[in-house]
């Protein structure tokens, strides 16, 4: 069966698209699936760094699109996992080097031999974003529980809905349970009240993510990382599994359990 193409976008910069793309790709590959990650952030590439593959770049996305190399030559195989590949972005060009049609053609060429294509979108709503969502079967929106990130995510959802790419799904990244409890941070419910799309993942703030990023070793490969587990859960949900959301805001003890009994729904 042909691959599903998933584009990870957000509108706002710095909310965790690249981290999410790397970790979801790794988690899917760790589950035995054939995955290609594509960095569509031409001119500001960083998916290669986060995945620890920057030293092995010979060809990139623009080389493929402009016919200087074959598709397979630009795919860097990750040596840690059975079937994970990366097509890096070009660092010396900009978003106009590639068109939405190019992206669709590229994705179609990849589809037959893989299970998943995960595309890292650049920030913004211009050409780079349009390139990244052009081939998508599913769009994942990453946001932080923070007012300006939610505003930008809302904008992006409007654009994605207008493109008839099917309903996008939401990843809320960098949740700090203690701050939510104090009322200093938006809760999952607050975010969903505005964005009103299906939730596919809630990622807790986790120092391990920064450490992992610097080491080029995505947190999804670290068994003890809470963020890593949350990304692995997203991979499971993408594969159709019903995985309950961890109650990050759980209070311990009697009152916590009582509160959870009376509070409707929660994150699922």
């Amino acid at each position: 069966m042909a691959a599903r193409v998933v584009t990870v976008t957000s509108g706002k910069g710095g909310v965790g698209k690249t981290t999410a793309t790397a970790n979801i790709g790794v988690a899917l590959a760790a589950a035995g699936q054939r995955v290609v990650c594509i960095d569509a952030d031409i001119g500001l590439r960083n998916l290669d760094v986060v995945m620890g593959l920057e030293n092995r770049i010979v060809y990139d996305l623009v080389d493929v699109v402009e016919g200087r190399c074959k598709l397979r030559q630009a795919m860097i195989k990750d040596k840690r996992l059975p079937d994970l590949h990366l097509i890096p972005a070009a660092q010396t060009r900009d978003k106009t080097a590639v068109s939405p049609k190019d992206m669709v053609r590229l994705a179609d060429e990849i589809r037959p031999d893989f299970d998943w294509v995960v595309i890292d979108s650049p920030a913004g709503i211009e050409r780079g974003f349009r390139n990244a969502i052009a081939p998508a079967d599913l769009v994942l929106i990453v946001t932080n529980p923070e007012v300006s990130a939610v505003r930008d995510a809302d904008r992006i959802i409007g654009l994605v809905e207008a493109e008839e790419k099917g309903p996008p799904q939401l990843i809320i990244n960098r949740v700090k349970a203690e701050m939510v409890r104090r009322g200093d941070m938006l809760s999952t419910q607050d975010v969903l009240e505005v964005l009103a799309i299906q939730l596919i993942g809630v990622i807790p703030e986790d120092e391990q993510v920064l450490v992992s990023s610097n080491q080029g070793m995505p947190a999804a490969l670290e068994p003890k990382s809470r963020a890593g587990k949350a990304f692995r859960d997203i991979a499971r949900r993408l594969n159709g599994e019903e995985v309950p959301f961890d109650d990050l805001e759980a209070r311990d003890g009697f009152f916590g359990r009582l509160t959870r009994l009376v509070r409707p729904g929660g994150a699922s």
Partner: protein, 232 residues
């Protein structure tokens, strides 16, 4: 070049109506027409009637860019396709030819400028949430079954009713009608304007209740929906 595209002068610019044919061909034909006639289109404001073609934000945005490169401005897209209308709203394009900010003119002056299908007082019903960055302009009343998120805008010649959370910017009576009203189940707009008056929401006190905002002696006031009944 294929047969020339019908171009008509309207009050705010030029209306180009696409004849039957493939979008790709007509798009190329439109750009070729503009390139051929150079000065005629420089600085022009263009409205495009695309009939029932379903065009997404990428199509319309790309066309707007191509026109801008030729120093023409796309300001409106007319269509019967809901996808096209939604995409146009997302890009801040008008979806009809009437400018809500202009007070209504006597009939004789409007014979070819006005879109005849939309009488000025007709209400537009939107059955989904208006998201950040989407702008809805309509000369009559506007009813939204859904929320108006922060960053979204409604500009209406008539009243605005939101059956949901109103958190964006609304301008009712945009043509100067001071009797216009804004109603919402949760009236919490970033900015509220009626005719020429503008106000921001005060901090909410107590529970969320449906409210109506209107002009009373030149002042913008908001009161609970059942206030008049209680004091009648």
């Amino acid at each position: 070049m294929a047969e020339p595209l019908p171009i008509k002068g309207v009050r705010d610019g030029l209306l180009i109506t696409l004849p039957p044919g493939m979008w790709g061909d007509l798009r190329a034909s439109l750009l070729a027409t503009i390139d051929d006639r150079g000065d005629f289109f420089r600085g022009a404001r263009l409205a495009l009637q695309v009939e029932d073609r379903a065009l997404g934000a990428a199509d319309l945005g790309g066309l707007r860019e191509d026109l801008a490169r030729r120093e023409a401005t796309l300001y409106a897209v007319l269509s019967t396709s809901p996808l096209t209308l939604a995409a146009a709203a997302n890009l801040g394009l008008q979806t009809n030819l009437q400018r809500p900010g202009v007070p209504s003119q006597p009939a004789e002056e409007e014979e070819e400028a006005v879109d005849e299908e939309v009488p000025a007082e007709a209400a537009l019903l939107l059955q989904h949430t208006l998201r950040s960055g989407q702008v809805l302009r309509h000369p009559g009343h506007v009813i939204v079954l859904g929320d108006v998120n922060p960053g979204a805008e409604i500009i209406a010649g008539g009243n605005i009713l939101v059956w949901g959370h109103l958190r964006g910017v609304v301008h009712a009576g945009a043509g100067g009608d001071e009797s216009a009203r804004v109603c919402a189940l949760d009236l919490a707009p970033t900015q509220l304007r009626i005719a020429g008056r503008i106000a921001v929401s005060p901090k909410r006190r107590g529970n969320v209740r449906p409210e109506i905002a209107f002009l009373r002696e030149g002042q913008l006031v908001a009161q609970p929906w059942d206030e008049e009944r209680r004091h009648a």
